[in-house]
Structures are given as structure tokens and as C-alpha cells.
């Protein structure tokens, strides 16, 4: 089966700064891929590259069977790549309803304003925002605004959904609800890439995890294996802790990665 998305040696530099270097991976159909790494590792840049917000300075991005390298964001949105933003971007002066219709109108593949409205209504119910439909999006709480973002993305009927820290800043209860929602989205057949700082969320949600560090892919594999990888520990906590981690977990030294957890040597 062709992967939902394939990155081949994708790089991005801003002036002299290399934010993403030579990143390659495949996103399988129906997968939830967790993307983790310390601040400044290049995760959001990578999302921006996949969504077309940035044009890569090297490499290729293939969506399904189509090369989409360098296509603008609206084209990718129409081809089925939807996203949410780390810092919430809702249309604040518009109602919640109009926010979601806006997503359905332009990217939804089965056209027509009437169909778009139907889809918006269904999506609002699905994410549990029906009661807030006529509120101004700028007036509702952060957790709800994050739901509006998600609903807008879902109304686009995406094949691939990119969630950039969808749970940051939420309370414990809200995180729980959001997790359930993401699972429900996944059950509908959407393939996801999820950036999240909360390890617990990533561990529970992802089928596979990619760790980025200094713009590169440091490791990828099953969540449990990846977090045990000393290189990953080192990237997060500094060298000192990585030795300790290696010592306390006998048999997990370099070259001895268990299971699917394979390190990618850059």
C-alpha cells in the first residue's frame, strides 16, 4: 500500500539557520505518528513544510502518489492535508459555526455550499460544539477554541491531519476529553501526525514515534522503545542523564535496541 505521506531528505533553512535537515520518513495509512523532541528541534517547522506553509530548501514531499513539494498551503489543504496550529488560530470575529463552514467550503472535496453546511453541522456535533455554534469564536475559552480549530480541520475531510500541540495549555479533564476526540477522529479513518509535549499523551496515542533533535530525525520506533533510547534521553535531559539511564536499564545500550526501535543514523 502506498504510504499516506512520504518525506525524502527534506531540509529547510532560514538564512543561515538549518531548522530541518535531511528528514525522511513514511506515514502509513491509518497511522497515528507522534512527533516529539526538545524545543527548537524543528517539529513545527516540519509540520509547516508538510502543510505547505514553508517551501523546503531540499528534498521531496509526496502525498499519496503525488509529489507536492513546494505547493502552496491552500493546494495541500484541498488535496487533503489539514492542520491545527500550536498558537490557536481561529477566526475570532466569526461565529464558531462560520469558522467550521469556512473549512468545509474551500477544502471539502464534495462541493457545493449546501453540502458544506451539512458537513459543518455534522462536524460541530461530532466535536461537541453544537451548543456554542452561534458564539463569537474569540469569546469562548481556550479549550473550546482548540476544538474549533480541530472542527475546522475535520470539516475539510482530510486524509492526513496534523495536530500541533493540540493539548498544550489544557486542564487534566480537558486533555482526557481531547484524547478521546482524537481517537474518535482516528477511528473515522484519518491518518494523523501529532506533536505533543506531554509524554503521557504521546505514549497513549501514537502507534509510532519520531524523535527530532537539532532538525534531524534522532530515532523512530514504538513509543516504549523510543523513550528508552539513550540518545533520546540524552537529547531531552543532556548527556549526564543518558549515562544514568543506560546504567539503570541493562541491555539497552547502543546497538542493542530492542524490537522495532531502530535508530536512524543521520
Amino acid at each position: 500500500m502506498t504510504p499516506a505521506l512520504r518525506l525524502e531528505g527534506v531540509s529547510k533553512s532560514f538564512g543561515g539557520l538549518q531548522a530541518v535537515r535531511d528528514v525522511s520518513f513514511e506515514l502509513h495509512q491509518g497511522e497515528i505518528l507522534g512527533l516529539i523532541g526538545p524545543n527548537g528541534a524543528g517539529k513545527t517547522t516540519l509540520i509547516n513544510l508538510i502543510a505547505g506553509a514553508y517551501r523546503p530548501t531540499g528534498g521531496r514531499i509526496v502525498l499519496g502518489a503525488r509529489d507536492v513539494t513546494g505547493r502552496p498551503p491552500y493546494v495541500l489543504a484541498r488535496l487533503g492535508v489539514a492542520r491545527t496550529f500550536q498558537i490557536v488560530r481561529v477566526f475570532k470575529e466569526m461565529t464558531v459555526w462560520d469558522n467550521v463552514v469556512g473549512g468545509a467550503l474551500f477544502a471539502g472535496r464534495s462541493g457545493g455550499a449546501h453540502r458544506a453546511r451539512e458537513r459543518a453541522a455534522a462536524t460541530l456535533e461530532f466535536v461537541g460544539l453544537g451548543a456554542l455554534a452561534h458564539r463569537r469564536a474569540g469569546d469562548i475559552g481556550l479549550a473550546e477554541q482548540k476544538r474549533v480549530q480541530l472542527a475546522r480541520a475535520l470539516a475539510m475531510q482530510p486524509a492526513v491531519l496534523l495536530l500541533d500541540e493540540a493539548m498544550a495549555g489544557l486542564t487534566h479533564g480537558e486533555i482526557h476529553a481531547a484524547l478521546e476526540l482524537v481517537r474518535a477522529v482516528h477511528r473515522r479513518g484519518v491518518t494523523l501526525i501529532v506533536i505533543e509535549h506531554l509524554m503521557k499523551v504521546i505514549m497513549e496515542l501514537s502507534h509510532r514515534v519520531i524523535v527530532m533533535h537539532h532538525g534531524r530525525v534522532l530515532a523512530q520506533g514504538r513509543p516504549a522503545d523510543v523513550v528508552a533510547d539513550p540518545q533520546v534521553v540524552a537529547a531531552y535531559f543532556g548527556e549526564r542523564y543518558s549515562h544514568r539511564a543506560v546504567r539503570t536499564r541493562p541491555g539497552a545500550g547502543p546497538g542493542d535496541a530492542p524490537g522495532e526501535g531502530r535508530r536512524v543514523t543521520p
Partner: protein, 307 residues
């Protein structure tokens, strides 16, 4: 009803008063022109006089030098403005905020300077228009009224349906709009071109009406700024706001002009200051929303934005 009242005006007014009414219509159409890009898309052009100037100059040049009929010249002038907008749109509409504002201001200024160097349209001397059958004062009133009607129809067509959604999304968050599948460059450029179309129509009619164009008069940056002010006074981004704004401000302006010629020149400046401080959203939302315009609401509007 409004249309019927407007149509009856030339029967009632004559001479100077009709001229004033025509001027008010002209500024209504110009304010609507600005509203298409500045109000709907949130790209505050400070150089829309460029389109007005193109319309005036192209019409004048074609009528005076090539003896085209006025209608054909006007259509060609409007097409020229649309072509110009489409050509520079993708470049200037990439800019945001102050940069967009000043780039448009600069573009209009540069155009005025360049026209001075074109001998075909008289260089610094401008063009004098003479047509065999000059339209009457009432005709010009109806021409301008036609421009207002065209601008209103265009605005209405843009506002309703998915195009209107695209504009609102662009105005509020362009990045999110693009991520939602909106071809932002297309919609922005299209609105900009429509804005140019309307302003060029008005410019062409103005040229024939005044029978003389030169760079300082039809590339005057104050015209650009006036468009911004009128639209803001009425309410940017709404259908009727610019019409209301032009009606209110131009009536006051003409009243003052007739009575206090010297102080009149200060008026636009003072109006701008007052409007920006007390009515940052314009008059229309108060009328349409039934909020009522009270002293309290005035100061409330002002308080939200201060540091």
C-alpha cells in the same frame, strides 16, 4: 426607495447643488472601491487614487487624442486599471500592515510622476477634453449614480456566498485561511482588481466631467486617504457603511466649504482624528446593530484600544 429618491434628485436640484450631489455620489463610489480591498480583505490601500488616475488619464487620452467615443474609452480605462491591479497585486498584496499601506501609496505617487514624463498625455500640462456632445450636468449625476450602483452590486456579490467567507477569513487570519483551502492570493487580487475597476470608472467619468486632467489633480494622495476615511467613518467591511460615511462627511465638508473657506481645509484632518478616536468601527454598526449611538458608547469604543 433609496434608488427612486436618488433618481429624482436632478429634477429637484440644479446648478451648484446638483454638482455637489454629483460630488457626493463620486465619493460614495470611491469609498466603496476602497472598501472592496481595505474593508473586505483588511488590506488598507493608501494608493487607490492610482486606479482613479489611470481611469481618468486613459479616458482622457483616448477621447482627446484618438477620438474614441466616451463609453468605449471608459471601458478601456476600466480594463487598464484591472490589468494594472492584476499585475502588481501578487507583489504588493504579499506585504502586510504598514508595508502594504506605504507600498500602495508609493505606487500611486510613482505613477503620477511617470505620467508627467509621457508626452502623449501632455506631460506636466495634462489633457484637456473636448467632446462634440457634452453630457449635461444631470447626465453626470446619473453616471456617478451608475458607478455607485455598480459598486454596491459588486460588493453585494462579493459579500454573499463563499467569496465573502474567503474575504472574512483572509481579513482575520490569512495563514489560517490558506490552511483551510482558501487561495488567498487569488481572492485578494480579485478584490483589488474590482476595487480598481470601480475607481477607474469613477476616474473616467470625473475626467469628462471636469474636462481637464493633470497629475496633481487625479493622482492626489489626499483622494486615496479620503477614500479610507469615508469608508471608516461609515464602517469598513460593510455594504452600506461607505455610502453612509461619504454622505455624512461630504455633506458636512460642503457645508463648511461654503461658509468657512479657510477653516475648511482643516476639516478633513479633524474629522479623521475624531473618528479614529471615538468611532474606530464606524457609524454603520451602530445603526445596523441597533446599538444606538450614545456618548457612553463613544467613550466605550475609545477606551478599549488605549494603553
Amino acid at each position: 426607495m433609496l434608488a427612486a429618491a436618488a433618481a429624482a434628485v436632478p429634477g429637484v436640484l440644479s446648478g451648484y447643488a446638483l454638482r455637489e450631489a454629483t460630488t457626493i455620489l463620486m465619493f460614495m463610489a470611491l469609498a466603496l472601491s476602497w472598501n472592496l480591498i481595505g474593508g473586505l480583505c483588511g488590506y488598507p490601500s493608501f494608493g487607490n487614487v492610482a486606479f482613479f488616475g489611470i481611469g481618468a488619464y486613459a479616458t482622457a487620452g483616448l477621447v482627446a487624442n484618438l477620438h474614441w467615443p466616451f463609453g468605449a474609452a471608459l471601458a478601456a480605462a476600466a480594463a487598464a486599471a484591472v490589468a494594472f491591479a492584476a499585475a502588481i497585486g501578487p507583489v504588493v498584496l504579499r506585504l502586510h500592515g504598514h508595508y502594504f499601506a506605504i507600498a500602495t501609496l508609493g505606487t500611486a505617487q510613482a505613477l503620477g510622476q511617470i505620467v508627467i514624463m509621457v508626452p502623449w498625455v501632455g506631460g506636466p500640462n495634462g489633457v484637456i477634453l473636448r467632446v462634440p456632445f457634452a453630457p449635461s450636468a444631470a447626465d453626470f449625476y446619473y453616471y456617478m449614480a451608475g458607478a455607485v450602483a455598480a459598486a454596491l452590486l459588486i460588493t453585494y456579490a462579493v459579500l454573499r456566498g463563499s467569496w465573502g467567507y474567503a474575504c472574512r477569513m483572509i481579513r482575520q487570519d490569512e495563514v489560517a485561511a490558506a490552511a483551510s483551502g482558501v487561495n488567498t492570493t487569488f481572492y485578494k487580487t480579485a478584490c483589488w482588481a474590482l476595487s480598481g475597476f470601480v475607481a477607474a470608472l469613477v476616474g473616467g467619468v470625473y475626467a469628462l466631467w471636469i474636462t481637464f486632467v493633470n497629475p496633481p489633480s487625479v493622482f492626489d494622495p489626499v483622494i486615496s486617504l479620503t477614500m479610507v476615511v469615508l469608508a471608516l467613518v461609515g464602517g469598513a467591511g460593510t455594504l452600506w457603511g461607505p455610502v453612509l460615511g461619504a454622505f455624512v462627511v461630504e455633506n458636512i465638508d460642503q457645508y463648511l466649504w461654503a461658509r468657512l473657506l479657510t477653516a475648511h481645509t482643516l476639516f478633513l484632518g479633524v474629522v479623521i482624528v475624531v473618528i479614529v478616536l471615538f468611532l474606530p468601527r464606524g457609524l454603520w454598526p451602530y445603526l445596523a446593530g441597533g446599538e444606538g449611538l450614545t456618548w457612553r458608547s463613544l467613550f466605550e469604543g475609545a477606551r478599549r484600544l488605549r494603553v
